[in-house]
Assembly symmetry: C2
Homo-oligomer: 289 residues x 2
């Protein structure tokens, strides 16, 4: 694994008063920490990530700093949201670099929660851990989960858009976020609006399940050329990265047209599709209301 | 509604030092109470009920008293676990009588949490509250829920047994218990083993979603003649009540046969079915491993 992947964040920071985060891997220790802090009247902000941190993540932490006394960043590559055909095994990671980046954030981060496996329950005393029944959507957890079988479903919002081509994705996200909420017990959790459907699903889930957590959506952070920051961008070749710019460009074109009076959503959608197609992009979905 | 339905529990208790429970209907007030108590170092036990309390419920409260400083009993008829063809509208209730019964419990109950509607989110700022899409299993919440769409599924244990003929039941139970857990934030929750599949589903859910709550299963309490206590027993005619005794009798017969060396589960199952059929009972399912 490479040690530096994003030139925009120095891995060796020159900030003074750098704070080294406490790294917690055990979920019971994590909860004990949160409860001890809460008993001192402190509020806790959670920023859930899958690691390989970039400026987008850092902006979520800065947002959390405005709202709570203490910050927990979770770094956990969640197998529950990947189907076996997706990129769990090639998802980029750089834990040491992530810690350096977190130390450079003004105000720092108090805890990095980095559990090994949130679906390994050890030798559970709960019976029924027999063979896994494989029906319907299957995630990478079914292979590794040692009997995990509880899933949180946000049944309408999880349908459509990204949910169409990634049938286990939002189920996995809602479930792991529930787990993180129950372990970290934060007051505030910050999510990026880059993953807009995900953000809305978490908001809805928090409302519907009566979590006492404020969910904040934080704006997209883009590279200088307009590409939305994403850990997966590291996989793009020079050619693909160039093509990817058509996404932001297509949205700008449609926005401009709408501002100039184009109110036909079908026409706006066609502009988006055309711009991406012309750049050689393959469109999974484009929706415009 | 009748005021006394169970002659075994005096509605006017002669106990001294009777404690009147605080009745809380607002979920935010409920959570504030729990957090205030926890900040004083108190532990909280939750006994979720749908009201019309009988000795079975009381035994759950006594169990909770052994484990925690404070007791919350929730009385909430959960529409989420009833399908539109089930008995939500005729489920018995007697709130005043319930309070009397709770006051007679040694040690009493600290709070009765009696929310009006846990699926009414008011004018939510979360968009997407359009028409309810009706696909798959439908509960009474779909009619009343004002956009509720998040469900907790314990996917293997919810299948089979009661889940076969009640497709929304366990989904509704797991979801409302999640809501109650997030509102009351108890340390311990007590469930009756009469609803054995439900108890196991809650245990599994707590493990899989990392709730920091100890789930206790409490033994069945029976009437003197062997009938398991249940709020719904009030609906039984004299004739039906007599037939219902065949359930316990059939299990005793099978247990006796097993103790005497019958190890063929098919044979044991046949004994159960025969006993109930002979009494004129209609069997939904009988399983024996």
């Amino acid at each position: 694994m490479e040690k530096t992947h994003n030139s925009q964040i120095p891995t060796k920071s020159s900030h003074k008063n750098e704070k080294e985060p406490e790294i917690i891997t055990d979920k019971n220790q994590m909860r004990r920490w949160s409860r001890a802090m809460r008993s001192q009247g402190k509020t806790i902000g959670l920023v859930p990530t899958m690691g390989y941190l970039h400026e987008g993540h850092i902006s979520l932490i800065k947002e959390a700093h405005k709202l709570t006394n203490l910050i927990v960043v979770s770094i956990y590559l969640n197998p529950g949201q990947f189907s076996p055909t997706e990129d769990l095994s090639t998802y980029p990671s750089d834990f040491d670099g992530d810690i350096q980046r977190l130390m450079a954030v003004p105000g720092g981060v108090d805890v990095v929660f980095n559990p090994y496996n949130l679906y390994d329950y050890g030798n559970s005393s709960v019976a029924g851990d027999g063979e896994v029944e494989k029906k319907g959507a299957v995630s990478c957890v079914e292979e590794r989960g040692l009997g995990h079988e509880t899933w949180v479903r946000v049944e309408r919002l999880e349908k459509g858009m990204c949910g169409k081509s990634r049938p286990v994705f939002f189920r996995g996200v809602a479930t792991v976020v529930t787990k993180l909420f129950n372990i970290v017990e934060p007051d505030v959790a910050v999510f990026g609006k880059k993953d807009y459907q995900q953000w809305r699903i978490i908001q809805r889930m928090v409302r519907d399940l009566d979590f006492s957590i404020e969910v904040i959506g934080s704006d997209i952070v883009r590279e200088n050329d307009g590409l939305a920051m994403s850990s997966r961008n590291v996989h793009l070749s020079t050619e693909e990265r160039k093509k990817a710019l058509s996404i932001n460009r297509s949205l700008s074109i449609a926005k401009f047209a709408a501002e100039k009076g184009q109110v036909n959503s079908g026409e706006l959608r066609n502009m988006i599709i055309q711009e991406i197609n012309e750049a050689g992009g393959r469109i999974d979905y484009a929706e415009c209301w």
